[in-house]
Amino acid sequence: MADKPNAAELKEYADEADAWFKENTVQDPGFMLPLTFMEVSTDQQFDFLRDWQRKVYEAGYLGASWPKEYGGGGMHSDYQRAATRAMKKSDAPIMLNAIGNGWAGPLILDLGTEEQKQKYIKPMLSAEDIWCQGFSEPENGSDLGNAQLKAVKDGDEYVLNGSKIWTSLGDRAKYMILLGRTDFDAPNKYAGLSFFLNPMDVDGITTTKIKKLTGEYGFVQCFFTDARVPADCLFGGEGNGWSMAMKTLEYERGAKVKPVGGYFVKELDVMDIVELAKNSMRGGKPLLDDPVMRDKMTQFMIDIQALNLNNTRRRMPQLMQDRPMGLPLMNKLARTDLIQRLTEFSLEFQGSKAGYYVGDENAVDDGYWHRSYLNSFSATIGGGTSQIQKNIIGEHALGLPKTR
């Protein structure tokens, strides 16, 4: 374990990082940069973000606290945190390889073999190997435990048949963390599942792009037809797929995540909405002079501030004595719903110009708000819908009985 830096050491490092990102961050590449890794729809966007991640990694500001022997920086995590703060300060673009760095990487570092760590970690950090996730299936969007993709052992290979959907970067990834069914007679649906570090460049795996409600692309559906993958892709042993998948979800939820650094999703800066409101006119007067709009905007400010402060309070056990799981579990629900309501509200500011969309020269902020509102559903639906989040909170934070 690397030593914790003293204040002076950390300050020096942070200043360097600030300077580096200030110098290297491209604010406007001349095309719209995705706010999340789920919104990468053009080659232009993909290539730019891939190059950016490599550049950040090579500068030592990504994976700085991951083990040196596998390609990380081997430094104390305070350094990585400082680097990530520097990215935020300079409003740097997102890290592209979210499933790799955020899900597969922590899992492999946590439970993988020496060989797997050697093989996967470095190219993941450098964005050479892009990773995607294969949990959801067309018939089982919310019910991951019911995954049906068939994985049959045949000698030293598994033969895969089925389909995965809502796969971000699925058509560009080299590997997929895949949830497949190796046993159809298991005592329960979970026990039949296994987890694979699955190579995408094998025969029998094809992808088709899915057009999002925004009109853009970003997800694919993957079809597996007698696709043969090496048996050593199996991770965690047959029948342990569910617990592996749950672990990755934990990493996503921020529990025991090793701080790889960077962010995969750019939080919409709500202050931008305040700016929009301040700059919007209605009937020749500033919109924020309209008391009804003011009141709504004020309520939003109260909500925003609460969620921002929650992120600090989550690290204060002395203020979480009664329902310790509450704040951690509610964050996704509260934040994604708030963003949805807020971006929807931002359309009200625009008056008749709310009729424009991305691509019209008259559109307010190039249609950013419409796009953000429509994209907000990926967050209230993906990773467990808001309705499912409420079940989780009700059952695990409040101790209410299961709904079945």
């Binding site: 409600l213 209605r282 020749g284 009200e348 625009q350 008056g351 008749s352 009729g355 691509g359 993906g382």
Partner: protein, 374 residues
């Protein structure tokens, strides 16, 4: 409050409701709606011709102008069913144009245009400008009179269906006073019309650059009736939009119910989960309120005082309900709802567009409050 309206129907209205229900369903299946999204014109010319032949464009035009001589009340069920089936054509803009001519047109202008519009000639209006304001008098476009010609200048936004209209009625200011000019699209120079990228992909909308367009002074509507003309635009426009939005609300709720009744998760039909069932019921309740307000507005439309209250209630209720029902439709369709293939987004986008054209729920509430409490 003596300006709260009542509700009632006419025989013709109900007959038209039955006919329109079948016609719009048959002529506008969703596959066709989606095919037309990628079509330049944006609607099926044959269907448009049939609409004209059915006399639907003549409904609220007096008989002495070759109209049917009914009222806006009878236009409502048609617009409602068109909205319900996303059958998007110049019907609304043409119907509204006729009301504007009736409110502010000279006898000659009425005689020249109303029979044409009644027979199926498409027409539209050019009202909005870049300030995003719904106050129709807050405009910068101007007309400069010299002799018997008027030179127009400025830009207009959201000129619907301008690609197929023969007539554009544009609001301008002459010597600071709002008035309206009749522009024949034949007189619109190359490139003066730019197709806009709007949130509703089933609509066709254009930006019109007036600079360089001149009209004869005979093409100006009666300046002494500008107030009545503006009122006609606001109220008839709101009524038509409310009808379309209410129809769309019914459709998006039915579409959601259909999914909730078939989709399975956790081995259960998801419609059995109260987390989806109850909000859908709440949206349905709001929808029925929308439809009640809509037919009340149709019933009271020509009734001084009550008419405006009823129309604005209908417009506010319709926009708020359509927006929320469509928003929840996306959410309740889960991952499929996030795709362009799911129809929920078509309705959500249209709700945004209708609100942008016609004033959103908050705007109409603001107007209402003065009528109710002052």
């Amino acid at each position: 409050m003596d300006n709260l309206g009542t509700i009632g129907t006419t025989e013709e209205q109900i007959e038209l409701l039955d006919v329109a229900t079948n016609f719009c369903r048959d002529k506008s299946p969703i596959e066709k709606v989606r095919a037309l999204i990628d079509d330049d014109l944006g609607y099926d010319p044959d269907v448009w011709r049939e609409i004209g032949e059915l006399g639907w464009l003549a409904i609220a035009i007096p008989e002495d102008h070759d109209g049917v001589g009914l009222s806006m009340a009878e236009v409502v069920p048609i617009a409602e069913q068109m909205g319900r089936n996303l059958l998007n054509t110049p019907f609304g803009s043409t119907t509204l144009s006729a009301q504007v001519l009736l409110a502010g047109g000279s006898d000659a202008q009425k005689a020249a245009w109303l029979p044409k519009l009644a027979a199926g000639t498409a027409s539209t209006l050019a009202l909005q400008e870049d300030n995003g304001d719904w106050d129709l008098t807050n405009i910068d476009a101007t007309g400069t009179v010299s002799g018997d010609t008027v030179a127009l200048s400025g830009k207009k936004q959201f000129v619907l269906w301008a690609n197929s209209a023969e007539l554009i009625i544009a609001s301008i200011k002459i010597d600071g006073a709002v008035c309206f000019a009749l522009i024949e699209t034949s007189a619109v120079p190359e490139g003066a019309l730019r197709r806009e990228a709007v949130i509703d992909e089933t609509a066709r909308s254009f930006e019109l650059t007036l600079d360089g367009i001149t009209v004869s002074t005979d093409a100006l509507l009666d300046a002494s009736r500008t107030r009545e003309t503006l009122e006609a635009i606001e109220l008839a426009g709101s009524l038509i939009h409310s009808a379309e939005m209410t129809g769309g609300t019914q459709a998006v709720i039915d579409y959601t119910i259909e999914y909730l009744n078939t989709r399975k998760q956790f081995d259960k039909i998801i419609g059995s989960f109260q987390a989806l069932k109850h909000p859908t019921v709440e949206n349905y309740v709001e929808y029925e309120k929308s439809r009640t307000h809509l037919y009340s507005a149709a019933h009271c439309f020509s009734d001084q005082g009550r008419g405006e209250v009823a129309v604005r209630m209908a417009a506010s209720q319709a926009h708020g309900t359509y927006s929320h029902a469509a928003d929840r439709a996306i959410q309740f369709h889960g991952a499929f709802g996030f795709t362009h293939d799911c129809d929920a987004q078509l309705y959500r986008r249209q709700a945004i567009f209708k609100g942008a054209l016609n004033g959103d729920a908050a705007w109409h509430r603001d107007k209402l409050s003065a009528l109710l409490f002052d």
